[in-house]
Symmetry: D4
Subunit: 174 residues, 8 copies
């Protein structure tokens, strides 16, 4: 097994149903990763140790998901000199607006690359894009991936034209 | 000079024009304090060292002001076992809603006692109320303070009745 | 039974499913409390009598939960000179943003220590932190509590590494 | 001088530049009023005494303006059985959204008739409409007032047609 | 049957499950009312005819409930010289914030007395308070109603003290 | 079959349950349309080719529905010189506020005619109104449509008066 | 002078500094228009008479600008069967969010084509696009207009490349 | 001069006073860049040509700033397979919330790495972090940069302790 170059962390195991999409996408692109639960608030020492040692361990990108007062990504970015991607997790009371603002509104000096609320798939894709900057094979795969996205849309559109709105809706419900 | 029992911290010196009201109020109640600038993002090591050592140094309450992705209060509360009071500083783009959500929406286990946006005076009063729980002299001073607040309102109201709206507005403009 | 030193109040019995977490946490720390329903709007006399007499009865911290135009915490803080902790209850129409703003945006002079929307557990922990300021036994318990929080996160993270994402998700669903 | 039947209250004298429009409008309709400063938080006893005695003093409608955690109207409505009109004052940090939610989102049982943020003129007009329910002279004056509003709009529109956009804008700037 | 003095209108029959609380409360206070569906947008002529004739028909207060771009209350207030009470109905997409802003933010000259989102009961109580301004019997009933509200809260609080949190929660679930 | 003059596009087939209301309404007015799925992000080439060729193909109005960072309408409007109507689709995390702002806040030079969140029916009606500008038959049908809307409201109101609130609610539940 | 085919209306003359951009743009495309001030609330009769007669007078598109509880566009759309374009005017307290929601969230049956807050220029362009549906000369002008927009951007970009960021900023300040 | 590897684009030259901070920071790290103005709406062809050719030209990261319905970053990300960083520019009406939502809420498949509203400096730092993933010299510089940030904070804090709050505030005002 290859050494992990992406590290996925989340503030609570309740974030896992969202964060699992990172795993799926990194697997599709054969990018080796590790995955952990750590909390900026409940396990702060483990979190800062992780953030300080990640570079030496060979981690190139960190993906951090958290909800509410979502400090995890920012706290890791305080130590880690390479890209940190933040995923605002949808919260039960404020729908993730709190998570989004806590992650994206970082002060000058310490960026966090923020994706959409619950945007775990895109966080993984962004990590892959970052790794692809100096990896022409990953670049090819990303270009191929874009074609697939496009083809899927086109196929759906053609099917809709072919079978009409009502039948398409019937198929969707199944 | 007495040993500090309240520690005031802020994420940036640009928060000082707001945070100075903490100082003023703590002085009024003769509560010894220290004041520092530290950033959860730009000086994370100093911040966690501070948070871990504060109890031993004799600090009983920490007041933390920060704006934007305001992680300072939460990051300190992760280490410090006594009360942490958070002041959301008004931000230039989102008026402090980002600061407020970043501070108040803490996860179960790690509370931050949040006051109003730019509510530095109230943060100090809350710290004093906390110290007053086992300090009858401070309790008396707080009861006296409440009477002053009330008297000030009553005096203004009486003046308004006496001189009328127009003259009162004229005096306010001066 | 010991005399209550924390008083938990709520604006309506519909808040009880949230507020019960205060009770659970105070019990864990063996902090004696009382619990009541009172409304700043529907039982204003009882509320102000309560707020005025609480200090003499030996109450050191009041926790007040309310939703919508959540005036309960502020109205009690107007009379009570020691810390008042406000819990914004999630409302059916505005998800608790109304409750949050009504509680946290107090004017200078009368602070309310606000926790997260539906943050009843943290309100209790904050009350315990306040009581711990001059109680070294409670301080030890809080430090112990922080270790438990940390250990729980670490155990979950280890389990996730051990059994993998898919099996962990299966266990969560059970 | 006639006995006051409308009582105008505000949480702080800083609300007076907005609240003065109530006075102006009540004067135009010759409705006798009193005006006071009182705070639900800083002068709670005076506020509840006022609210309990207002009916006996002959007050028929109370207009209450406050900003931030604007509890004044709700606290008065808890005691006063006749209409309470709430004016959310624009706040420096949240533009009055906090004031609006604190005033309008009252629980079932205790209504507050809420007008627009800084809507002091409309608060006075609403008070007059309430008094006009059983006062045919006031009804006539309100019908007349509506005609004036309409005529003013029509005149401005005619002037705009007559002199054109550019000249109209020039006149506005003067 | 007595002549209606309150008129309840709503923009759509889908608002009826909320608006029925107006009916219930007006019945409790024996205030005669009429109830209709009319839309500022879909039946504008009927709406303006209604608003123009309401005063002559003896209507003293109009309660208007609507959701989304909720223009009904404002459009009626444009014609009717006595109090119009607006109920912002919770909308499927914006939770009633759209309805609230559309109703409460009326321009100077034409007030709408706005209650909470879905606050149909309070709209009726406000109408009764308005009618009570010159009706001492209604005043007595409102004072009695306030006592009932208070007693209900006190009884619930006593029951909670008596049976404890767990049993109370069990009873609530039944 | 007539040549399409309205083109309905949507960013994803998950938008179809909302967008189908466009189809239904255009059918009612016998306006020929085409319907397609295309994404500003996943099939950008197809989208810009479509937008550039639509005018030559005889399309007179384009209706575009999308959610989240909803760029579809704006991207099409960048190329198409005739009216583009944007439908903000309700999103799972931000309820469509994100979609609304992404569609309506277009910069000077490139308008998008925005309707309500999930307002697919109104988007179709707006397209028909646009086509009716130079089509007196469509104008007649729209005037007739308005009468139907009005009659439906009146009938419902009459039924409510006839059978009363309780029976009406019973019928609604069935 | 040609007969007006676009009618520009606004709720108050204070909207004119924004609405003047409509006039400028319609002039550039030589589209004949009329301009008036009318209020859904203060001059409701004039407004409904206008809306009912506009079609017969030859008006093909109505542009309505209003702020706050911005009912003007919706009230006109209730009567006028052809396109109504709504401009949400930025309000002093809620920055135009209230105006936007009041205009865009129209119920099914009565669309208003909404543009950006203060988007007067785009409202005019949308009106021209609507008129261009059956007017090939206007179509040509719109296509030409798009080219100009594009050229302006390209020229600015070229200048920026040529003179560099600092000199460009200096020129902007002049 | 070295070949550009970062491309900075903005929707309008009015964004330049914000975007200039990108330039400054990239210069500090000696990262070669190009800078252009292009609009997703006003110069769509230039924008898509740019996005399609950027990879071949050697561009590794694109930074795109835009305000309002800020589609620029998303439209470029639709074509470019490597990282696109989006800067939401503060808008005059909605303070940049519209820009933020338009940029961050991208659909699955096409990420945009979003930074804070007006966060141009952090966008550049994020680009540098991305380039540093396979560039140990840049890594060293970033680690050094973090130390500088930390030292600056520490120096300010020491100065505050040394000269006190009042003198510090005096120096800030100068």
């Amino acid at each position: 097994m290859k050494k992990s170059i992406v590290s996925i962390v989340m503030g609570s195991d309740s974030d896992l149903p969202v964060m699992k999409d990172c795993v799926k996408t990194l697997n599709e692109f054969s990018v080796p990763y590790e995955i952990q639960i750590m909390s900026a608030h409940r396990s702060p020492n483990e979190t800062s140790v992780f953030a300080k040692q990640a570079l030496k361990k060979g981690i190139k990108v960190i993906i951090a998901g958290a909800g509410g007062a979502a400090h995890l990504a920012g706290v890791i970015a305080a130590h880690f000199p390479l890209p940190v991607i933040g995923i605002p997790i949808k919260s039960s009371t404020l729908s993730g607006v709190d998570s989004l603002y806590s992650i994206v509104q970082m002060p000058p000096g310490i960026p966090v690359a923020t994706v959409a609320i619950n945007g775990a798939k895109n966080a993984a894709l962004l990590a892959i894009q970052i790794l692809a900057v100096d990896d022409t094979k990953l670049q090819k795969n990303l270009i191929e991936y874009k074609k697939c996205l496009s083809n899927t849309v086109i196929k759906k559109s053609n099917k809709l034209k072919e079978i009409g709105v009502e039948k398409y809706l019937e198929l969707m419900e199944k």
